[in-house]
Amino acid sequence: MHLGNLASLTFFLPELAVTATILLLILVHVAGKSRYSAAPALLSLAGVGAALLLVALQPASPGRLLFEGMVALDGFAIFFKALTALATIVVIFMSMESRDLAGRTQTEYYVFLLSVLLGMFLLAASTDIVMLYLALELVSIPSYLLAGYLKGKESSTEAAMKYVVYGATASGVMIYGFSLLYGLTGTTQMAEIGRALAAGKAPLPVFLAAAMVTVGFGFKIAAVPFHMWSPDVYEGAPTPVTAFLSVGPKAAGFAVLVRFFYTVFASPDAAAGMWKLPPSVDWTLLFGVLSAVTMSVGNLVAINQNNVKRLLAYSSIAHAGYMLMGFVLLTPAGLKAILFYLVVYLFMNLGAFYVVVLVANGTGSEDIADYSGLGRRAPFAAVSLAIFLFALTGIPPFSGFIGKVYLFAEVINRGVYWLAVVAALNSVVSLYYYARIVKVMFLEDPKESAELPVPAFPRAVLSLLAIPTLVLGIYWEPVARVAANSVRLLAF
């Protein structure tokens, strides 16, 4: 069911809410200096909160396309909207605490943040490659600015520069790929592209196009070999931005990756879970290798890092690799695993970054060595960080384990054992560097004995991140069901 532009607006309320908030922020900024420095943060919080609420209230129905088939309103889109909105809320909390950002103009920061959110909303929902490209750039361009937000800091500028050049190149390659696809099928509607491809032949150009598109998506999810920007950008960017980039755009990147490939390349027989496109290429093997290489490189390089932020950057590359496991077979179960993993990843990864922000506030350092004795100096933060790190490792009873089980499960179910083994060994490797932080925090004596105070508000936020990380490791049925439903409702 295609809805016209006006009719669509009623189903577009979350996006409108975000847009309104952006405009409001600009207005407030232009209108004059607010007396409360926290005002823009609170305003955006309210806006995103409202958007989240509206998302939650949105009726999901399969096949409802808005704006003449530009945007889908299915469970999949709603899932990602909720996810990214939630991530944005946490990042706003984080930004309010971060000393990096203190004293700078706040409004623009939140305007960029919310713009990215808007882009992610559209990215997750877009069913037309024009919309997709637009949304992708809407995510990317403010991201460049966010990465370089620390004006005086050289590293921040460097990060922004690398990000923008790399991002522009990647999107350029992608758009060239899109142009080829368009030429092969004569349409910009993903579903129709898929149908046209299913009918047509010409495997080689299709493959070239697919490879080029993969560059763009790979850049967004930071999959090897398109990941090179991410460690530098993650390290140079302000920590809340790093946290945001490692969750939000990455999730949106997965959303679009899944939606695009699923719609365009997957066999209509969803249960079979087979790629319908050029059988001469072992797509499973290709993406399997991509996944294996991504997780291995991320984990191996992370071992030698001494900067926590950079370590987490590599870890998030590795996690992209894990999540790609769910993608290699393009089956609903695999996609469900990705969705589930993104939920738990949101909590554990943002939680880890949150602690990094708190520690940096106290010590001014992001070096692992400066975490020594954190277990004594700030037990609450240290225990929380330990929980997040072990969850990232994938050890029960934390949610990360369950996420991994789902990812492993589909791969094993379809008999891709080598990938499961690689991923399992990667888990062991990852323990090595995660545990290194834990070791420094708990097993080493503090260099300074002064306690690091963690105020009540961050404590509360940390708990809100830690408790789901723990609870989802023990009872995850509702989330699993939501993830399953979201996949099932994916519009074709």
Partner: protein, 677 residues
Amino acid sequence: MIRYAYIIPLLPLLAFFVNIAVGRRLPRKGDWVSIAAIGAGLAMSIAIFFEVFRIHDPNFKYHIVYPWLDIGGRFVVKAGILVDNLTAVMLVVVTGVSTLVHIFSVGYMHGDPRYSRFFAYLSVFSFSMLGLVLAESFFFIYIFWELVGVASYLLIGFWFEKKSAADACKKAFIVNRIGDFGFLIGFLILYSATGVLGYDEVFQGISEGKVAGTLLTLAGIGIFCGAIGKSAQFPLHVWLPDAMEGPTPVSALIHAATMVAAGVYLVGRVYPIFTPDAFLVIAYIGLLTLFISATIALASRDIKKVLAYSTCSQLGFMIMGLGVGGFTAGLLHLTTHAAFKACLFLGSGSVIHAVHSQDIFEMGGLWKKMKITAATFIIATLAIAGVPGFSGFYSKDMILAAALEFGMRHPQHMIIFVVTLFTAGMTAFYMFRLVILTFFGKPRDHHKYDHAHESPPNMSVPLVILAVLSFAFWFKAPLAEKGWFEVLVPKPASAVSASFAVPANAGLSAEAPAGAKGEHDLHLAHKAHTIAMYSSVGVAGLGILLAFGIYMLGWVDPDKVAAKFPRLHDFLVNKWYFDELYEATAVNGTKALSRALAWFDLHVVDGLVNLCAQVAVWVSFLAGKFDNAVVDGAVNGVATVTIESGSFFRRFQTGKLYHYVYILAGGVLIIYLVKAF
């Protein structure tokens, strides 16, 4: 009373627990608890003995069996006791010697700081030994077998502050364990073949042919290995002389009368399982032992060491006797030996107690100072030397007769008799050498002589009792055709059916069981007996005479003889260098192996993955990280590989943007090439 036989071992066990727990706080430090326990045991044993004696049935057997282990009926071990004539005799021997040693110890150990502990250990030994005697299955005899070993360990190491004692107890236990290993394998073979553990059941199984031939021989030799260890037979005899580091009553009880005889008892107990080949091994092991230890005893200066080697040698007699088919003879010698050897050891204890030395060349003339000790010692010596009228003569003569009979049947094995006879002479010689040097002649150390004194009654009374028991008439009325022992403990029928025996050795079967002897056999036996008797009396007399000649009358100066054959003398004084040999091979070998393996474990197994790591690192030798990786050691190997590969990938992250774009382009290219080819 037989029904209550199981109480006999339990009494000392109770005494053990009492003494170990509260012994020190009891009046008299609890010695009476142990003595009462063993005394009651003795009374019961005697009662049982007389009951059995009254029944007077050679085939008498009394079983009590309870289920103990039961694995769903698929594996069953029963606990129980077996009382037959042999058991009854052994009970009396064990409880009797044990009681006397207990009493003796009251005086000997007086004032020791761990007095009550000593009695506790004696009790636990008595318990284990009695359990061993009463056991009715291979499984249980093995259990008690180990337990007596521990008791022996504890008692040898009783004065553990002495390094020599600490060494000796360890040595005793480990050497015994080596024998036990064989025992274990032996009974495992039997169990796996027959599926049962009780003696009679196993014999039944063997006679049904469930196990035969070489395997059965191996089983027999395996079980005999246990006896080799416990009865200090060649080549595991080395622990026994060292075990003399224990208090002397312990030496008397454990290392002379009872525990070391357990090996003999074991061989006797499982007699029916041995194949002719196994018997031959037994006979020759016994022969080697009796000869080697007798020669060592010739040159020893330590009163207890002489006795220890003589014990070894006598045990060799018994084992050899059993091996050549003299079942009754061997076991009879076990019984008689228990009395006179205990007497000798306690006597030596009395002497040591008096002069505080064990070197016989520091003694002399003690006859005047300690008449009871001397008299009893001499009586026992007469017995061991094989002088007619004493128990030793009676039993040893039977062994010689058996050996001769075996030699007459199988002339190629005549050497057994010859060597044994010669050794019997040596026995008389070195025992009288001991007596003469200790009790006669002039005191060689006047200081020690002056302080010497007769021991208190609680030490001398046991001596007297044991000496009295060293006369032959207890075992055989004078001029009687057969002693009661011969009647009551006849040779059991072999379970090894001839048809299952290895044909090649069929001719070498041991003598037929009693009662089945043909006319020819009877004649042969009689003839052998006569020759053996005269020759044994002859060599004994010769030995005694020689001893008197050399050490009393000074016909020859023994030192000069020693100087004339310095190599031989050194060889004997150094006990044939067995200790050195074992130290150099087995002990150091094991230690070296263990160190090597520990090194292997630390550096190779632990570093196994490390090894792969090192190979990988060699490849990346350019990085010059080799040292780090090697020094790192340990399982970090995996980590090393991982980290190294991390560094490898890390090098791509140069920070230079155009490198990144290269990689991006390269990635697309690779993906495309995958497709293209």
